[in-house]
């Protein structure tokens, strides 16, 4: 699992290193789209866009589904869970920050105490 996650991690960085692909993710964050629509939107050939979507798909960031002759792309994350998951990650980020801030403030408190002792001393 760890190695698998690491491989995915590397694939994702490669996938996200390209501005067009980041744009595609942003676009799909707002609405699903076909490869043709994405190619138009980003002024690219169909072949070029297929390659970009292929890279995103390999990284697990996008899933595609072919219905008839149209291949539709959507974000790899489940939509309904997306906002809740985002808010939880945001909360975890702040919790980690505040835990470290607590430690810094504790240190400042101790320093004030010992400075006060020294002055009295």
């Amino acid at each position: 699992m760890v190695q698998y996650a690491q491989a995915r991690f590397d694939a994702s960085f490669a996938a996200l290193s390209d501005a067009t692909r980041r744009g595609v993710l942003e676009h799909l964050g707002r609405a699903d789209a076909s490869i043709t629509e994405l190619a138009d939107k980003f002024h690219m050939t169909l072949t070029g866009m297929k390659k970009h979507v292929g890279v995103l798909e390999l990284a697990g960031l996008v899933v595609t589904q072919k219905i008839g002759r149209v291949r539709t792309c959507r974000l790899g994350l489940r939509r309904l869970k997306e906002e809740a998951a985002w808010i939880e990650r945001y909360r975890q980020l702040w919790e980690a920050r505040f835990d470290a801030l607590d430690a810094v403030v504790e240190e400042l408190k101790q320093k004030e105490k010992s400075d006060a002792r020294r002055k009295r001393g």
């Binding site: 699992m1 698998y4 996650a5 995915r8 991690f9 590397d10 994702s12 960085f13 996200l16 290193s17 980041r22 993710l25 942003e26 964050g29 707002r30 990284a59 697990g60 960031l61 974000l75 790899g76 994350l77 489940r78 997306e82 906002e83 998951a85 985002w86 808010i87 990650r89 945001y90 909360r91 980020l93 702040w94 919790e95 980690a96 920050r97 505040f98 470290a100 801030l101 607590d102 430690a103 810094v104 403030v105 504790e106 400042l108 408190k109 004030e112």
Partner: protein
């Protein structure tokens, strides 16, 4: 868990983070306002992100610029903006300009309650669309969409049991 961190989407375009810190407001404010202290807590160690530089000209109208690097990413990423209000030890307001017009304005208030400080941080986006887009892009305004996308991906992988 008296010092739990909570996050709430207060409105269509506002997110609010709340936490009680064990220490007087003047020290909590100091830890936010002095770059050498700020650098010690802003980046969680678990994120593998390094703060390459931290410039903070902390007065009303001053600007800041933070540059981060992740070992798996080639390009350092910069976060920058201006301080709209600096009122020690109770209030800090800054802009987040790295993402252009969709950036939030962050307001932090420090309320001293008998030696403890209630910290309330609000990210106010210019529109509902701007906040929705921030969520859709995966960015949590502080680490850049690339890292956050990856976090999201790893969470999704965990949820799938590795599949």
């Amino acid at each position: 868990m008296t010092n739990r961190t909570t996050v709430e989407r207060k409105s269509e375009r506002e997110l609010v983070v709340t936490r009680t810190v064990k220490g007087p407001a003047r020290l909590v404010f100091e830890a936010w306002a002095r770059p050498e202290l700020f650098q010690r807590w802003w980046v969680p160690k678990s994120s593998n992100v390094t703060m390459l530089s931290c410039e903070m000209d902390i007065h009303t109208g001053g600007s800041y610029r933070l540059v981060f690097q992740h070992p798996a990413s080639g390009q350092p990423m910069a976060f920058f903006g201006r301080y709209l209000e600096v009122t020690p030890p109770s209030r800090l307001v800054w802009t987040n300009d790295e993402s252009g017009e969709g950036g939030a304005v962050t307001t932090v208030t420090f309320e001293d309650r008998g030696g403890e400080t209630v910290v309330v941080l609000s990210d106010l986006y210019p529109s509902k669309q701007a906040l929705d887009e921030a969520i859709a892009s995966g960015s949590t305004s502080g680490f850049g969409e690339q890292f956050e996308q990856l976090d999201a991906l790893l969470l999704a992988l965990d949820a799938d049991g590795g599949g």
